[in-house]
Point group: C2
Chain length 206, copies 2
């Protein structure tokens, strides 16, 4: 299987980590976003939204969206299970994964597109909105505090074991730290202990 | 099972339609958002983000997030299948459902919180950002055009059969039309034909 990939971007990293946890080897095909290779008519056949990552299956079909690709991989390679086994666990992991995406990733994204790196890298691509960035910066920090509180009661994002929700959280935190200038405060010791726990897994370097 | 519900809100409607398609009866428990009943410490045990809907299972466990609740219901009542059967179909439906959420619902949401109804209903709750609303209004209309183009090639949002992606799309379109003042243009005949097709199903009135 081929993964159309951008090394530094957080979404393809989610799929790379997920595949590494499963022991699935993906052939990585780098896409040059600066040259808008992800917006060509040919690429839009791979992902109709022109986004990275996209997967090309062994029989030549395509899938876009990180979590959709992960679900496909989970169906092909059920073990180790990362999306849940019982009905309630399936719901619970989906719930936590979505909370992370809807309340954390969206805010990181707003800070990112309205921040200095994007303004310099892609001038004029996004109309800069400083008020939106100010609000989302605050929301990211508030969410870090919530993660820290919840991690006082459990070791992983969706419960007592590592799941896809931890992959979503790790990719988000590392992108916010490394590219958006929004690291968690040092005082959030439960959050940092979780970060060490999941970063020590071999998959984290995928 | 109990569903903590708000009749006019689009997210609980997704779950009500989903359950109706499965023939599952849910006991609806109305929550008064104007009284902030969804932000009480007691409600936060049901959904840690203080959002509607939330599900209380028959054995007294809780789940928040519409799609997480739907996945739980799908696992308990697999037929009729609404999330996909084969690995590729599971991925494909997830992909379309997420595109609808990430590129359509998010934009409707921005127009909603920055629009006149919210400004009147919950004054001061959201700092109004007219530039953000202007951009999201445009994005909603651009997405309608995309839906119309894609529905020239298939009858439903994720392929040739009705799935959870159609429930996501219908709830979004009807909320945008009814509450946000963003109906699709009349010229989008494929989109309107789809809308008729899915609205004629008995579940649409759930």
């Amino acid at each position: 299987m081929k993964l159309y990939d951008v090394t530094a971007a957080p979404n393809p990293r989610r799929v790379r980590i997920f595949a590494a946890e499963k022991g699935i080897e993906l052939e990585l095909v780098p896409v040059d976003m600066a040259k808008a290779e992800h917006k060509t008519p040919e690429f839009l056949k791979k992902h109709p939204s022109g986004k990275i990552p996209a997967l090309e299956t062994d029989d030549g079909q395509f899938l876009g969206e990180s979590v959709a690709i992960c679900r496909y991989l989970e169906a092909l390679h059920p073990e180790p299970n990362l999306f849940g086994s019982t009905a309630y666990e399936l719901g619970r992991i989906e719930m936590h994964n979505r909370i992370l995406e809807l309340e954390f990733w969206t805010q990181i994204g707003i800070s990112w597109v309205n921040g200095p790196v994007v303004a310099k890298m892609a001038p004029g691509r996004f109309k800069q909105n400083p008020a939106a960035k100010e609000a989302s910066d605050k929301n990211v920090h508030a969410f870090y505090k919530r993660m820290d509180r919840e991690l006082a009661e459990r070791d992983f994002m969706a419960g007592d074991r590592y799941t896809v929700a931890d992959i979503t959280a790790l990719s988000g935190v590392d992108f916010a730290r490394g590219m958006v200038g929004l690291p968690p405060e040092e005082s959030l010791s439960n959050l940092w202990a979780w970060h060490t726990r999941v970063s020590e897994r071999p998959s984290a370097s995928a």
